[in-house]
Assembly symmetry: C2
């Protein structure tokens, strides 16, 4: 494993399509991934607050990415066991189909889950949310959609007031309020004295990365 630092301002902010079409597809196909920045873990062995420290990417966005092997709840069934020591992940909302237009052979699904403390159906909802990505098997000869591949890709998120606020703040203030009222925000990064900042990501790269990303004029 080798590592390199990114310059200030560069972050791992993948789209759903990149997660499915590149990272998940390549993991399931056994193809080389340029940078091995998504670890594989036995996700449901851990409560969500134990997960951030297992990520290769320290994330100020409160998002962490993992590959997770598909263990079934019952040996001969298709249901997934999503219980942890302190609670369980429960699906919510609509599943979202992800189609990679560059290759119609790769499609996937994004399921949203929320973590509940305790045991179903009496668990207490928490701020921990997960997007679970899976690949669809495009062989529809059997008439129904099914999943393929041994791995899911999970984006674990901690939602809180601040996270929601960040999204709201990303649209500019375009009201016609009087000027020169200063709103103070603060910065916790310390990159002033050096080439790269504390929040820049240290990447774990496969040896192929060196070859593939060789600098070119």
């Amino acid at each position: 494993m080798v590592g390199s630092s990114l310059p200030p301002g560069f972050r791992f902010h993948p789209t759903d399509e990149e997660l499915v079409g590149y990272y998940l597809n390549r993991r399931n196909e056994g193809l080389v991934i340029e940078l091995e920045i998504i670890p594989g873990i036995d996700l449901y062995k851990f409560d969500p607050w134990e997960l951030p420290e297992k990520s290769f990417l320290p994330s100020r966005d409160m998002e962490w990415f993992f590959f997770c092997h598909r263990d079934r709840k019952y040996h001969n069934g298709s249901r997934i066991n999503r219980a942890t020591k302190s609670g369980y992940w429960k699906a919510t909302g609509k599943d979202r189909k992800i189609v990679c237009q560059s290759s119609s052979s790769v499609t996937g699904c994004r399921k949203t889950l929320v973590f509940y403390l305790g045991r179903a159906p009496f668990g207490g909802r928490t701020e921990w949310v997960m997007h679970e990505y899976r690949l669809y098997d495009n062989d529809t000869s059997q008439g129904s959609l099914s999943f393929k591949g041994d791995f899911a890709l999970c984006r674990v998120m901690k939602r809180n007031e601040l996270t929601l606020k960040k999204c709201e703040n990303s649209s500019p203030e375009v009201s016609n309020e009087p000027l020169s009222n200063n709103v103070e925000i603060s910065c916790q990064e310390s990159y002033l004295g050096k080439g790269s900042c504390d929040t820049s990501i240290t990447l774990g790269a496969s040896p192929d990365f060196n070859r593939e990303s060789s600098l070119k004029v």
Copy 2:
């Protein structure tokens, strides 16, 4: 100039603090910037729709970054001439003070401006928005805040329905709607057959980047 590609999912998504505390501060102080990914241009010589092609970073986020020298409207005045060929940039909303906690000596200001077509005060508002960052002079011996440095850093954005939608979509669906209703989204990237995707950024780096970012075990 040398260039290297980033792996899929990595993007230039800087915080205000990184823009002010690292990029703008270093530009004004004449210090080395690890990656020269923000070009200096005479911003008001161009209408906003001419700017994206001048950026070093093709941005799917409809955001482009530039350094801009502070030309004054009148030789002996302090007002900035923000008129272009087809219209003008007009300040709106509240200015935001940006404090870098790692070094209280660096503070800055973010001003929001909207582009209007035509001539003031009869211009027509457009979807082009700009955040203009400046450094504050922390020598407050004269009792009032003033700016320092010859350069401003400008984040030019084109806001549209899609951009706003993207922000809304970034919070998960946590309603208790029935499952298995698929919502289809699509992907225009084509990275399936290669190491990095079309949307990965090609970086223009200063020669120092090679030295500073050398891979380490």
